[in-house]
Structures are given as C-alpha cells and as structure tokens.
Amino acid sequence: MVRGGLFSASRAGWLAALAIAVVAPLVVRSPAYQNLLVVTGVNVMLVASLDLLIGQSGLLSLGHAAFWGIGAYTSALLSLRAGVPFVVAMLGAIVAAALCGVVIGYPSLRLRGHYFVLVTFIFGIIVTLLLTSLVTVTRGPMGLPGIPFATVPRLWGPPLVLNTFQNKAGYYYLVLGGVVLTLWLRGRVVKSRMGRALVAIREDEDLGRTVGIGTHGYKVGVFALSTGIAGLAGSLYAHYTTFLAPEIFDFVASFDLFVMNLVGGAGTAAGPVVGPVLLTVIRDLLRAVHPVLAGILFGMFLIAAIAFLPEGLVGRWQKVLASWRRGAKDPRGSFVRTGRESVAWDAHGGEVFGATREVGKRPAAGQGVKGSAFADGQTALLEWGETPVLAVEGLTRNFGGFRAVSNLSFEVFAGEIVGLVGPNGAGKTTTFNLITGFLRPTAGRVWFKGQDVTGMPPHELARRGLVRTFQQTRVFGRLTVMDNLRLGVHRHEPGGLRRGLLGLNVEEEAALERRVQEVLEFTGLWHQRDRRAEELPYGEQRMLGIAVALAVEPEVLLLDEPLAGMNPAEADATMALVCRVRERGVTVVLIDHHMETLMRYCDRLIVLHHGEKLAEGCPADVRANPEVVRVYLGDEAVLAR
C-alpha cells in the first residue's frame, strides 16, 4: 500500500474526473452525445460492480447483464403495473436483483473452478429467455414501452419529473449520482475488512480459510452487493429509455461488460471507469461509421486488446509507472537468495525476543501459559499436560478403494511439540487435512479443546484456534508481506462491512497494525514488510507462511513439512522459532521426513505407516522400536546414531 503523497494524487485524479463528468453535459449539448453520457454512466456502474467480482474477488461472472435486466424490468413493471413512485421502484429493483444474486450465488459459490462462470452464464440466458417468453407480463419480444419518467421529490412544489426526451442533462446528473455512489461504495468495500477477505479469496481461497476467513459467506455477500448495484443501474436505465426489450440484457451484453472490465484493467481502482468510457465511446464512433463494419472491427479490437494488453489499460499504466519509479537504483526484487538473507530472520527474531530458554526444553508441568501466543490475555489459561487439547479417534479416510488413513487415534497435550513422521504416502498430510476440515473423514472423530469438531469447515476451526500451514510454500504471492499478515489477523478485526463503510475502524486498525508488526518482528520478517511475498527468497517465504498462521493466534499450530527444502542451518533456525512459539503457549504438531531434526526438538513422535499408527512415544523409545527401524530401512544410518 502506498500512502501519503500518492494517495492525495489519486484523490486529485478522482476529483478531476468528477469535475469533467459534471461539466460534460454543459459542453456537449447535442442530445445524441448527452445520450452517450448517460449510457456511459450506466456502464460504469455495471462494470464497477462487476469488478467487485472479477477484479476484487477473482469470481468470473458472465451473467451480469441479467441482473441489470432484472433490475430494469422490476423497476419498470412496478411503476407500470403497480404505479409505485420511482424511489420505491428503484429500491424494489435493487432488492430483486440482489435476491436473485443470493439465490444463484449461494449454491454455486460453494464449488470452485469454472462452475460459477457456467452458472452465471446459463442464468443470464435463462433470464433473457424468460423475459422473452413470459409475454403476458413482459410483452416478450415486442418490448415494454411507456415506462414512466423518474420523479424526484422536492422540498417545495410538486415532484420533479425527469423527462428524458426533453432534457437528458438532468437525468444524467441522477445517473452520475449513481456512479459516484457505486464508486464510493466500491472504494469503501475494497479498503474494509471485507475487501481484504475478498483479496484472500482471489489469491488463494484455501489459505484464506486456514486463517479463519469464512470465504463462502463473503463470496455470497459480495455477489449480492454487486448484483444489487446492477439492479440499481437497471432501474436508472429503465426510467431513462422508457422502453425495454429482452435482447438488451442478453449474453452479449454480459460479455460486453466483462470485456470493458478486462480492457480497463480488472482489480485496478480506475479500470472500471476507463474501460466502459473508452469502449462505449469507441463503439459508438464505429457504429456511426458503419454498423456492420463496427461489429467486425470491435471483434478484432477485443482480440488485439487481449493479446497485447492482458492486464488492461490501467494495469499496464501502473506497471509502466512502477518501473519508472523503481528506476535503475532498485531493480525488481532479486530471486537469488544470499547466505545473509537466509539467516537474517533468525538473528533478528532472536534479538527482539531474547530467546533465553534453551531450545527443545519444555516448561515445567503445571506452569500456566496463555492459551494463545499473541492474544491479549482474553483466552483461558491452559495447564500443561492435563487434558488433551487435540485428539483424534479412529480416524479413517478412504479414496476409492485406497485407505489413506486407517483407524488412527492419538492425543496431543497442551504445550507439546509433537512430530508426525512416516515415509512418503504414510498419510501424514491426509491426517492434517482431516483434522483441519479440508477433507471429511470416512469414519472417526476429531476433538479440539474437548469439543467434537469433526467435519467443521477450516475457517471455523481457525477461529477456534486450530491453524495449519501447507506442505507447498503457500503465501498470498502478489500481496506485500504486511498485507499477508493483515489477512492473518483478519479474524480479530471487529466491525466489518458496516464499520468499514462508515469509516469507524481507525482505532482497531492501529491495534491490528501493532500486532502485525509484533508477529513480523518475532519471525524476523519486519525488514521485508513492504516487499511482495513472491519476491522473497524461499526460506523467508516459508517463514512468512508460518508468520501468517501465527497472526491468526493459534492455540494448536499444525505445520506441514516446515523444513522442506531447507539446509540444516535453516532447519535448525526454523525449529528454534518453533520452540519459541511453543514457549508462548502454542501447541505444535509438525510433519517432516527429517527424522533426525524431529528427534532433537519434539517431545513426542507419532510414526505413521500405510495410514496406520506404527509407534508413538518419546524420541528415544521410537528410535529403539524395531518396527520403526524396519520401516525406515533406508534411514537406518540415522536411527543407528
């Protein structure tokens, strides 16, 4: 996030754009061009709301025009058939469109991949077909004429009737109000807690769920918001043209909006304005030259835009600007990792917290420790070694005929470091997936803090204090280190959309920033805070993965191969950090192949083989277990030491 100077520069840009928009109808007096202004305004509203889905959340919707149409027809029919005032019809349009959004979004946003695109696309076609075939209600292909003009109540005199045939400029200002409202709402949402959750969904939904973000709820929420705005745009459109026909809102229109979004630059602040303004004007000019030729040229223009400008106009401009600003002094983050960088974090972290306790040593039994490392003392104190904080009982998972985990039971006590070891394919990661709700067990139960949490979704478990990391390096790559952490503290952020909209979250934000700083200093990543996560050297990316998990304030932290790909020095440094995490009261379960390292740092080891528990106990016992020695034939040398 760049603040300060640039922020005011962008604010100046918005004000200049607004000034131009306000003056435009005074300069352009011809009705044809004023019509173009109104249409452009409606398109900006539609694209800005669509961008909340595509750019902000990574949800490709190809049926946006359908919601626009639902809004338009609802508003028109309410005015025509029920005779309600304009303002009520407009509200009805918003509600109808958002309601359809929820009905379509709730089931379809549960699944990933192309699924949502397909559902929105087909829904769009169905809406057009319904508008066409429900002749008794919509007059079908003949279209719906004679929609009353909008009336705006006035403090004095009779309500103002916005006759768009005589005066387009007046209506234009109404639409401009809608545009400003849409952009303001969008800016607010982007900056709020919800906006950050949406970015997490776009970047890596599973990772978002592990830090406690209820992604499905946010997706449905943003879809309802986006479709609601489309409904508003529909109402404004209906009372402007006073005539509606089904094909105005068909899949080609949805596709147009999609293209305007991409050409402008999805996910950029100014893209949803630049795209529709440019394309609406270009197409109008082309149509004026030759209507059929316009279609051909527009098609070619699209393909060229995708080929040469896949990140959109504003996206490209930002890239150019960024490369100017960086100049020759500070080239793009080097991906080569130096020796200094890889040890830097440990030295740094050690300094800050002064790890005095000898690593690998467990605090004395009975010593009270806060339940969560970075909590401000609200969490109940847990006693060492009393009740198991995490337990699995008869855990089983079949994949077709293959049994990945078989009747596995074990307990983890508060304050322990437990190692889950076993050869490849032993079922270690599957066990993690079963515990953290990414997979449903075929049989068996998972208990966390005395409660049955079997099958609970990952974000719910994260909120309760059970947090995992992933085997592969998984961070929000395109976000800065700071922003990664901000997503980690997401679940502690109070308020949400309502507070974000009203801008009341300044104080909480400051507290969260302090917490982010604390975790970054603890993990030695503070000096890298403004770099994009994907630019960090490998070791630090892995550390960032752990830092994000720590920011969630786990009581039990499940680390999936935190040492993968590390040299012995890095591995020791990471384990030293794990020990310091434990000293703060966090129970740690970790998976690794490094038998030797695990033996040095873990209180207990659980050995898995073919999905079953082969051995369990303190490292020395496990080392002496003949079964373990047999399974680990290749590692005999390690065990013999």
């Binding site: 490709l60 089931p107 379809s108 699944l111 990933r112 991949g113 192309h114 699924y115 695109v117 397909l118 559902v119 087909i122 829904f123 076609i125 169905i126 077909l129 319904l130 066409t132 075939s133 002749v135 079908g140 899949f251 080609v252 596709f255 999609f258 293209v259 991409l262 059929v292 030729l293 316009a294 279609g295 051909i296 527009f298 098609g299 070619m300 699209l302 393909i303 995708i306 080929a307 896949p310």
Partner: protein
C-alpha cells in the same frame, strides 16, 4: 397420448439432437484437449450452411458435394483460428481465450451479415418432399439422410479416437494433459488437428440441417449456446456425455414444444442445465474438473 404421437416426438427429438451432437462433440473435444470453450464453433456452423447454400445455388454443385466442401472449408478456418488466435493466447488462460472466441464469433457473424445480408435462407434439399411413413410416424428422406450421416460421423470419430494414434493421443491429453506432455505428445499440434475436426463437424452440421432449418448470420450464437449447454450437461470433455446430452436436450425441446408451448422449448433445455449444474456439477458423465 397415443403411441404414434410419442414415436413421432421421439423421432423429431432424435433428429434435433443430431445437429447438436455434432457441434457439441467438437466443442467437448476442444475443451478436453485445450481447455478452451470455443464459441467460434457456432460461427462455423453458420458458415457451413452458407457454403452449402452458395455452392448449390450459385455454383450449381450437387448438395452431396457441397456438404464435404463445407466441412473442408470450416475445418480449415477452425485450424486457422487455432493457429492465429488461440495459440498465441494460450498462455493467458481460460477467461481471455473465451473472450477471444467470442471476438471471433462476433467478427464472423458480422462478416456474414455484410457479405450475405440478414435474410433467412433455406437450402433446397435434393430429396424434395420424399418421406417414409411407418406406423403413422413420418420421417422425411432428408431427415433420414441427416440421421444416417450423423451416425456415420459419430461412429467414425469414435473409431478414430479409439484406434488411431492421433485419436489415442487426443484421449490421453483430454484425460491427463501433464502426463501426456511428459510422454512427448505435442498438445498444440494435436490441438490444431482437434480444431480441424471440430470445425468440420460444426460446418457439416450447418450444411446438413439447413435444408430443414432456416438460417441467418445470427444462427451461430443460438447453436453454440445450446451446444455449450449440452457439453456442460454431459460433462465438459466427455464424448459420450456430449451425445447423451444432445439426446436429452433434443427430446426435452421437442416434448416442451409439443405439450407446453414452442416458446418455452429453449427455456426448458437451459433450466435443465442449471438443475444439472446444481445437482451434479461435473455433468452427467463427466469427471470433476474443479
């Protein structure tokens, strides 16, 4: 409802399915091999119809010659699309190639509008009005011809995929593109071959159907929407899914048109799609592709 009516509906449904099955088969093959939802295939159906129309009308060629000519030309055009548009765009991923596909559809549709005008056309069938009547069920000679040719094409494609080397490669890539690349299958070259095949099938469908169904430059959009829905219905990338999906949609349309109202026919097939998407997201015969 008597038996004759039911049989008549069945025959009509199967006949409508034929055209959809050909386009959907091409679409599902392209999706399986290249993960592109190639909406330009709709334009190829439309062009196939125009090629056949002008070949018989203006050049005086026999209709039976015009069908393979149309298939050849649309196949070539599809390959050209693949080489000139999709190949350079491949690295940009699904959403952008989809936009490019719609861009091509838009270009070809407007080009046709410009060159051929917007009037509805009908190819003169070489079979005139000949029909077969059995147990009260009517099947025109042209319908029989279309069903026969479609069956031949489907069986031919199936045999080709099953027993020829490139066919096996197509199936391998569709099932496991990573693994296929590892064993040395060039997926883009194979992709171009898939485009050629799909384009020929779409153009063939256009030429076959157009003596019965009138067409204009906009028919491509309607055909591709239906075929795409069928592909989703049957499972994206699934070949039997495309055929079964086509049959289900064809039957549903005929029955709706017969018993409810013609204007609801399209609605029913798309509503069916949404139901399938909610109940079984991977499609009737597809594998999960999340």
């Amino acid at each position: 409802m008597d038996l004759t009516t039911v049989l008549q509906f069945a025959v009509n449904g199967v006949f409508i399915s034929a055209a959809y099955a050909l386009v959907a088969l091409g679409l599902t093959l392209i999706f399986g091999v290249l993960h592109i939802a190639d909406f330009a295939q709709g334009a190829l159906y439309m062009l196939g119809a125009y090629v056949s129309f002008y070949a018989t009308q203006s050049l005086g060629l026999s209709y039976f010659v015009s069908v393979p000519v149309a298939m050849g030309l649309t196949g070539a055009l599809a390959t050209l699309n693949g080489a000139l548009v999709y190949r350079p765009l491949q690295r940009h991923g699904g959403a952008l190639t989809f936009i490019a596909a719609l861009g091509i559809l838009l270009i070809l549709q407007n080009l046709a509008l410009w060159l051929f005008g917007g009037d509805f056309r009908l190819i003169a069938s070489p079979f005139k009005d000949g029909k077969i009547i059995a147990w009260g069920v009517v099947l025109t000679h042209h319908q029989a011809f279309v069903l026969g040719v479609t069956a031949l094409l489907l069986v031919g494609v199936w045999l080709g995929l099953r027993y020829t080397k490139p066919g096996k490669a197509v199936r391998a890539v569709a099932q496991q593109s990573e693994a296929a690349r590892l064993v040395g299958i060039d997926s883009m070259r194979l992709g171009l071959a898939t485009f050629a095949l799909a384009g020929a099938l779409a153009g063939g469908a256009g030429a076959l159907m157009s003596p019965i169904r009138a067409f204009d430059p906009h028919i491509g959009a309607i055909v591709i929407l239906k075929s795409f829905a069928i592909v989703i219905f049957g499972g994206m990338g699934s070949i039997p899914g495309a055929i079964v999906g086509a049959l289900v949609v064809g039957m549903a349309e005929t029955l709706t048109a017969g018993y409810v109202a013609a204007e609801f026919a399209d609605l029913v097939s798309f509503a069916l799609m949404i139901v399938i998407l909610f109940a079984r997201p991977q499609g009737l015969l597809g594998r999960a592709w999340a």
